[in-house]
């Protein structure tokens, strides 16, 4: 090594350079410090990752939980919108333990008889004041044909008030009329989904469809329902996509009868249901929850088995609101605990980092670093650490609701606020828990720090 000589000196290398006047905030310094922070975190990859796990879990859990609870409350609101605030829905439900013998005299001997009856509805109407209307429906699963095309769908026999009662609007044509109900008319209104399936090209209005051996004139088409699963058929289908058609209640009764027969693995299964569902409209929403309870009492008295279900949308909404609040409190608690744990983890790792780098701190101080430069350095490192944790958490927190939706079919909604909030909090955690180690680093005596092994 013979080259260890100073090359001929020109004038001072700094002669024509000027430091930027204000040293309070300097971008070059900030960038350098950030680079140092990233290098330090990167050089302890696994350790850094384990450190931020608390933050990752906290942030991910909060976002995912809020997404699930948001989804649940959206679903409840959807039901609320679909059914209306002042409505009560009563459905026939096949009881858990069915009677093998028939209650009424007619129908095949094996027919299971259950569910709501017109007599139930009459009793409800007569004994509860404030009921403005009752829309009773029969829902039968049928193959519906347009020439060679067919679709298996729910045929809803109902009354003229059905669309109004459910805030369900027509896209084209009209609903059937009172006189068509009176006359057991062969008229039908298709849901948008069925219309598209059976009439992919031409306009179905004015055309006919066939159910069993009867032809029905298409008079109207409803608008698309979206994914609402309410009013789903009671005839045993688990198909959740709504595909329905509507015919007059009277027509359903006279064309299909009250007993439906299905081919099952164990042979033929028949059931006799007079009404599949009834929408009971109450005047004003104030008493709607109480009316729901009274209906339940009446039906309990009149039915041996629990072969009906009552849904009060307003009650559902209240429940959803309550459970959303509960979810938010749980999410908040989880967030609080994980972020605390994450923060302590960061503090711990930063203290270790400060100790490990005591000598470096001494060197930097000797070379002109002010206290605030050192504080900044470690604070930035802590914030990067928690920020990276927060970012991983956000990614997971957005991915988890997707997985939940894909595998369990739950509605989840990630509002933009949740990730932003969670990420900001995680960065804040870096500041809060990084400040003490940073101050400790800055308060070191330069001489002692330089002597540190």
């Amino acid at each position: 090594m013979t080259d260890a000589t100073l090359n001929p000196v020109k004038s001072s290398p700094l002669a024509n350079k000027r430091p930027s006047p204000s040293a309070a905030f300097n971008f070059v310094r900030f960038k350098k410090i950030t680079e140092v922070g990233i290098k330090s975190i990167y050089s302890h990859g696994l350790r850094s990752l384990l450190t931020v796990l608390g933050i990752v879990i906290g942030v991910a859990a909060v976002i995912a939980m809020l997404a699930v609870s948001e989804g649940a409350s959206y679903e409840a609101q959807q039901q609320f919108r679909d059914l209306g605030a002042s409505n009560i829905l009563v459905k026939s439900v096949k009881p858990a333990e069915v009677e093998e013998s028939s209650r009424s005299g007619f129908g095949p001997p094996q027919a299971i008889v259950y569910g709501l009856t017109t007599a139930d509805i009459t009793t409800i109407r007569n004994s509860i004041p404030g009921i403005s209307n009752v829309i009773a429906s029969r829902i039968v699963k049928k193959n519906v044909w347009n020439g060679g095309l067919n679709i298996n769908t729910d045929v809803v026999g109902t009354s003229v008030d059905y669309p109004v009662s459910r805030n369900y609007n027509l896209r084209a044509g009209r609903f059937f009329s009172e006189s068509e109900v009176r006359d057991h008319g062969n008229v039908v209104v298709l849901s948008d989904e069925v219309a598209q399936a059976l009439f992919p090209i031409d306009n179905p209005l004015g055309k006919t469809i066939r159910i069993d051996s009867d032809y029905y004139n298409i008079v109207g088409i409803m608008e698309s329902e979206g994914f609402s699963n309410l009013g789903q058929n009671q005839a045993g289908s688990s198909n959740s996509a709504p595909s329905r058609i509507f015919i007059p209640f009277t027509s359903s009764k006279s064309r299909f009868g009250e007993t439906t027969t299905r081919q099952t693995a164990g042979g033929v299964e028949s059931e006799t249901v007079e009404l599949h569902e009834a929408i009971i409209q109450v005047e004003g929403q104030d008493g709607v929850i109480e009316v729901g309870e009274i209906i339940d009492q009446i039906l309990q008295r009149r039915h041996k088995d629990i072969d009906y279900a009552i849904e009060v949308p307003l009650a559902l909404l209240r429940q959803a609101e309550e459970s959303a609040l509960r979810d938010q409190i749980v999410a908040g608690a989880i967030a609080g605990i994980s972020l605390l744990v994450g923060g302590i983890g960061i503090m711990n790792i930063m203290l270790a980092s400060v100790t490990e780098r005591t000598r470096e701190i001494g060197i930097r101080r000797a070379l002109g670093a002010k206290r605030r430069d050192i504080i900044m350095q470690f604070l930035i490192e802590a914030v990067i650490l928690s920020g990276v944790g927060g970012l991983i958490g956000v990614v997971l927190g957005i991915a988890i609701p997707f997985i939940i939706s894909a595998f369990w079919g739950m509605t989840t909604i990630v509002t933009p606020l949740a990730p932003i909030l969670a990420f900001s909090i995680s960065a804040l955690i870096g500041v809060i828990f990084g400040i003490y180690p940073s101050i400790r680093a800055a308060d070191m005596d330069p001489v002692e720090a330089l002597r540190h092994e």
Binding site: M1, D3, A4, T5, L6, N7, V9, S12, P13, L14, K17, R18, P19, S20, P21, S22, A23, N26, V28, R29, K31, K32, V36, K39, S40, S43, R359, E360, G362, I363, R364, R365, A366, L367, G368, A369, K370, R371, R372, D373, D445, P446, V447, L450
Partner: protein, 248 residues
């Protein structure tokens, strides 16, 4: 410690060279370390003047207070009593931030154990004092490249300190100390960790710096190395024992 009869005040005249600028002046510097109830005075009143272009060796037995004095000269530590003027500034009343500024702007440090930052490469180590002074990235880079070349390490700028020999590391440290063009270069046993050959190379660099008019203060145990400087300050038990200058 036995307080001797007002010990012969070190001959301050030894340092005076007519026409030369005073760069640092110590006036009756005392340093006491406190350890709980115990207190130990390590420096008992040191007065020394240093001039522009001086090349000083500070010598003395182990524990006599050489490093303590160097720390005070380097504004890393404050004297318990006495005044220290650096240039025309009285440092004894300075706040921590001012001391940091003065270290960064006017002093260059060379340590026995090099004290390079291991995560940073040669160039980044040399640049560091510059960015604490607020120089732009481009300026810092240019200056650091020039200095790396000056100490003969232009082909090693991307290397990390652990990839270099001790002598090379110390040369990086010298380049770093020169970065801000300091008033004084302080070197506490700069060759203490080096073999004699690498040590001699470092001393060659010092000779050149001296020739270029830099002010150098070096602590050394070796008479042979001290031989190359112009002025020798001997400390004993926290006092200046002798202060001699080469007669030219």
């Amino acid at each position: 410690m036995l307080e001797t009869e007002s010990s012969p005040r070190p001959d301050s005249d030894a340092g005076v060279i007519s026409g030369q600028e005073l760069v640092a002046s110590l006036d009756d510097i005392r340093k006491t370390y406190y350890m709980g109830a115990l207190s130990v005075e390590v420096l008992h009143g040191i007065s020394l003047d240093f001039y522009q272009g001086d090349y000083i060796s500070i010598m003395g037995p182990s524990g006599c207070g050489k490093s303590t004095l160097m720390n005070i000269l380097g504004c890393l530590d404050q004297p318990t009593e006495g005044k220290y003027f650096l240039g025309d500034q009285d440092t004894s009343k300075m706040e921590d931030d001012e001391l940091s500024s003065i270290r960064g702007a006017r002093l260059g440090f060379i340590f026995q154990s090099y004290n390079l930052i291991q995560q940073l490469n040669v160039l980044e180590n040399i640049e560091m004092p510059l960015f604490y002074q607020g120089y732009s990235a481009a300026d810092s880079h240019e200056v650091a490249m020039g200095l790396a070349a000056r100490v003969g390490l232009e082909d090693r700028v991307d290397h990390k300190p652990f990839e270099l020999s001790g002598g090379q590391q110390q040369r990086v440290a010298i380049a770093r100390a020169l970065a801000v063009d300091p008033l004084i270069i302080l070197a506490d046993e700069p060759t203490g960790n080096l073999d004699s050959k690498s040590g001699a190379e470092i001393l060659n660099l010092f000779d050149e710096l001296h020739d270029q008019g830099k002010t150098l203060i070096m602590v050394t145990h070796s008479d042979e190395l001290a031989e190359r400087s112009q002025r020798w300050v001997r400390l004993r038990d926290g006092l200046v024992e002798s202060d001699d200058r080469r007669n030219t």
